[in-house]
């Protein structure tokens, strides 16, 4: 049974997330955990906006917070977000990875360790190769990997690299990603 959905994106991420998160139904049984690169900026207002237009509760992930299904968590700006083996969040101020903090690779790798085959990983529009290594870890440990079709991504590099390196099971245009996720979740019943 899938327990978590992890999503990584940078440039073009606001638009891409707006096309996915609000379409997830109120009884969506997975925790959704997102890394969005936004440089030195805060993302409070985007989180509030997304919360207003979504059926799921959207918030920033907190240190030691317990991870709940049906909730969307964002990595706080300037911290890496990790999944602990007691299903809580950990934060770190370690060096940037792929010029990014939070880095998608850090979330994906630690999520793959904890959730194994119960995980769906998604790489969306973005400008560097962060996420490719992490998505490969998800694939290696039995999770399902989805990459946004680079053809219609605002920034192609991130999904292209993830496609090349992680060999995802699905490559999907942005407007069909939410449906694909829901289909995967429903098909296991």
């Amino acid at each position: 049974m899938y327990k978590a959905l992890v999503i990584g994106t940078s440039l073009g991420g606001l638009e891409a997330l707006k096309a996915i998160i609000p379409l997830l139904p109120k009884d969506f049984p997975l925790a959704v955990i997102v890394v969005l690169h936004i440089g030195d900026n805060q993302n409070d207002s985007f989180i509030r906006y997304l919360n207003d237009i979504s059926q799921l509760f959207v918030k920033e992930a907190e240190e030691k917070e317990s991870i709940s299904p049906g909730t969307v968590y964002f990595a706080p700006p300037n911290y890496h977000l990790l999944i602990e083996n007691d299903k809580t969040f950990a934060l770190s101020t370690d060096a940037k990875i792929n010029h990014s903090r939070p880095a998608i690779d850090v979330l994906f790798e630690t999520a793959a360790w904890y959730y194994r085959q119960d995980l769906i990983g998604v790489v969306l529009s973005g400008l560097n190769q962060d996420g490719a290594y992490g998505l490969l870890q998800i694939n290696d440990l039995g999770g399902i990997c989805i990459v946004q079709d680079p053809e219609n991504a605002i920034a192609r590099i991130m999904p292209s690299e993830a496609y090349k390196i992680a060999k995802p099971q699905f490559i999907v245009p942005l407007h069909q990603i939410a449906d694909k996720i829901i289909e995967l979740v429903q098909s296991q019943h």
Binding site: E63, L82, E84, N85, A90, L91, V106, Y114
Partner: protein, 288 residues
């Protein structure tokens, strides 16, 4: 077996091996990482394993028990050494507004900067205290368990690479002059004015295994507790409570919190958002 099963078994084994190597390190060298955030430790060890010629964490354990040099390398992997000048400038602005007026009422001020790493924030505080006219009245203890980073902190020499970020942070923090008034530039590096740390004692202290060493008016410990599990966080907060003079201040990192810790009630909020706390009067802490 498929290769996926191999990989899954490898990680099953790693989860068994990590507590064992941490126990070995503690028994042999006295450094205690057993109650650190496990995912942080696991990332560091797994990445060290990937670039080594070792086959497993068990082999790494064998090597660390027999080679002090290898232990020192691992210690670098396991410690947290990334910081910046005036990190979270909004915090510094709040500190200026809420804590400085109280500090100014003391003729002598003792400050403990715990987990100071390479010292960027020690210099940041020294600059702020000088601008407020009280640096000469302060005795600052800047501590870390890693002697190598303390050497860097003493030198106060940092790469020029991050200078724009430092300048930006300083301005946002409410800095009163120009950051460049406090450093000289040479060979791609900046060197902070050493008169800033005339009254700073840089010392080796381990929050996990060492105890109270002084009574202080202010404790700064930013982005250290996030690496500890809840149990260890409680222990260290208790240590801070014991070390603070009555109504002394405690400053944590912006994403750290006393919320849900055992001794939450022994402190009151000064600035909830910037994680500035004050030791409460007449409330005693639970001994852990």
């Amino acid at each position: 077996m498929t290769s996926n099963q191999d990989k899954q078994e490898k990680f099953d084994n790693i989860d068994i091996e990590i507590p064992l190597i941490l126990e070995a390190i503690y028994q042999k060298y006295g450094y205690d990482f057993r109650r650190y955030s496990r995912s942080h430790i696991k990332r560091r060890l797994v990445h060290r394993l990937a670039i080594s010629n070792l086959e497993s964490i068990s082999q790494m354990q064998d090597k660390v028990l027999r080679s002090k040099d290898f232990f020192i390398e691992l210690l670098e992997d396991l410690s947290i050494n990334v910081t910046e000048m005036f990190r979270d400038p909004e915090f510094y602005a709040s500190f200026r507004e809420h804590v400085i007026p109280n500090l100014k009422t003391y003729p002598f001020i003792k400050i403990w900067h715990a987990g100071c790493s390479t010292g960027e924030e020690v210099y940041s505080f020294a600059i702020l205290l000088r601008e407020e006219g009280i640096l000469d009245r302060c005795q600052i203890y800047a501590t870390d368990f890693n002697r190598k980073v303390l050497e860097v902190a003493k030198q106060g020499i940092y790469s020029i690479r991050d200078i724009e970020l430092f300048e930006r942070n300083y301005t946002k923090s409410g800095g009163k002059s120009k950051l460049s008034d406090f450093y000289t530039m040479k060979y791609g590096s900046i060197k902070l004015d050493q008169s800033l740390v005339k009254k700073v004692v840089f010392a080796d202290h381990n929050l996990v295994t060492d105890s109270v060493f002084a009574e202080v008016n202010l404790i700064i410990c930013r982005n250290v507790l996030i690496y500890f599990n809840r149990d260890l966080q409680n222990k260290v907060i208790n240590l801070f409570h014991e070390s603070l003079s009555s109504s002394g201040h405690l400053c944590l990192g912006s994403k750290e919190s006393l919320k849900f810790t055992a001794n939450e009630n022994c402190f009151s909020n000064v600035d909830d958002k910037q994680k500035i706390y004050k030791k409460s009067l007449s409330k005693s802490c639970i001994k852990l």
